[in-house]
Symmetry: C2
Subunit: 163 residues, 2 copies
């Protein structure tokens, strides 16, 4: 599919979408977090066409989120493991799952996140690591050191920090 | 683009992607959080083709994340405002931006989230609302009340809760 390259944009959201901004990629990552590693496991879980799955796995390996590992010599068979960069993507899936559970599951939750030691249900929320305060309306975006002129223009007037 | 419907899957991640699983949609939401409301503002920010923008805005309105509001009678002009459901999507953007900033910005951060009252930089992390503990390796997924047989099969054996 022909599309604009988001990888050249300075915005970290756009760059992230360049790497994983495709439905299947995100569901493949989800399944990788569930412990799936093999081509046929992903295919059976997702009902995805093999050529599409091959492309998406290759893209995720190329983007550095998965690594391909030979697990059998004859015939050669590979499995796909999350890299550190891939594992760092989990918070996105947690927030996406929480949003979907809240707004798109009128019949009730189909999955529940639990703490594996206590068994208690977990409700994922985003907080500031430093203060522990939930992020809310009080969050603003300002241009960082690597912002380009366009981003500085955008964030300068719009996000005056209220005293 | 012809594709599988994820909306019929019980998984909340899949359903979320059905609603917003498209690069442009997520960047339109990002811009809406930055305060953009009008067609020409989105178009100029994103460099998106008008017909594509029309389609994506319509889809976001249809999905319940944006609402269209008449702000001028003659000629009729509309603006697009985030709904409560749309505002709830912010945690996904925060985690996506944090991941992109960490892994895809070798030249430094282009945007920084700040607390608008203190001006201090914010580092978004996901925690359990109940305990305040950061979500990490100890998170497991179990089938919820609305899981289908397939999801029960998947989560039953795989996610035995360790004592």
């Amino acid at each position: 599919m022909q599309r604009t390259s988001f990888g050249q944009m300075p915005c970290p959201v756009a760059r992230s979408l360049e790497k994983v901004g495709e439905w299947w990629s995100i569901l493949i990552l989800r399944d990788a977090f569930y412990g799936l590693t093999r081509f046929d496991q992903f295919q059976s879980s997702l009902g995805i066409a093999p050529n599409m799955l091959t492309r998406r796995l290759k893209a995720l390996v190329g983007a550095g989120l998965l690594e391909r590992r030979l697990y059998q010599q004859r015939p050669p068979r590979y499995e796909y493991m999350l890299t550190a960069m891939g594992r760092d993507f989990r918070p996105v899936l947690w927030t996406l799952a929480a949003w979907g559970s809240k707004h798109l599951a009128p019949e009730g939750q189909s999955i529940i996140l639990i703490d594996s030691s206590s068994g208690a249900a977990i409700e994922p929320i985003v907080v500031d690591a430093r203060t522990g305060r939930p992020l809310s309306e009080g969050v603003r975006v300002v241009a960082g050191p690597a912002a380009d002129d366009r981003m500085r223009d955008r964030f300068a007037p719009r996000v005056a920090i209220e005293p």
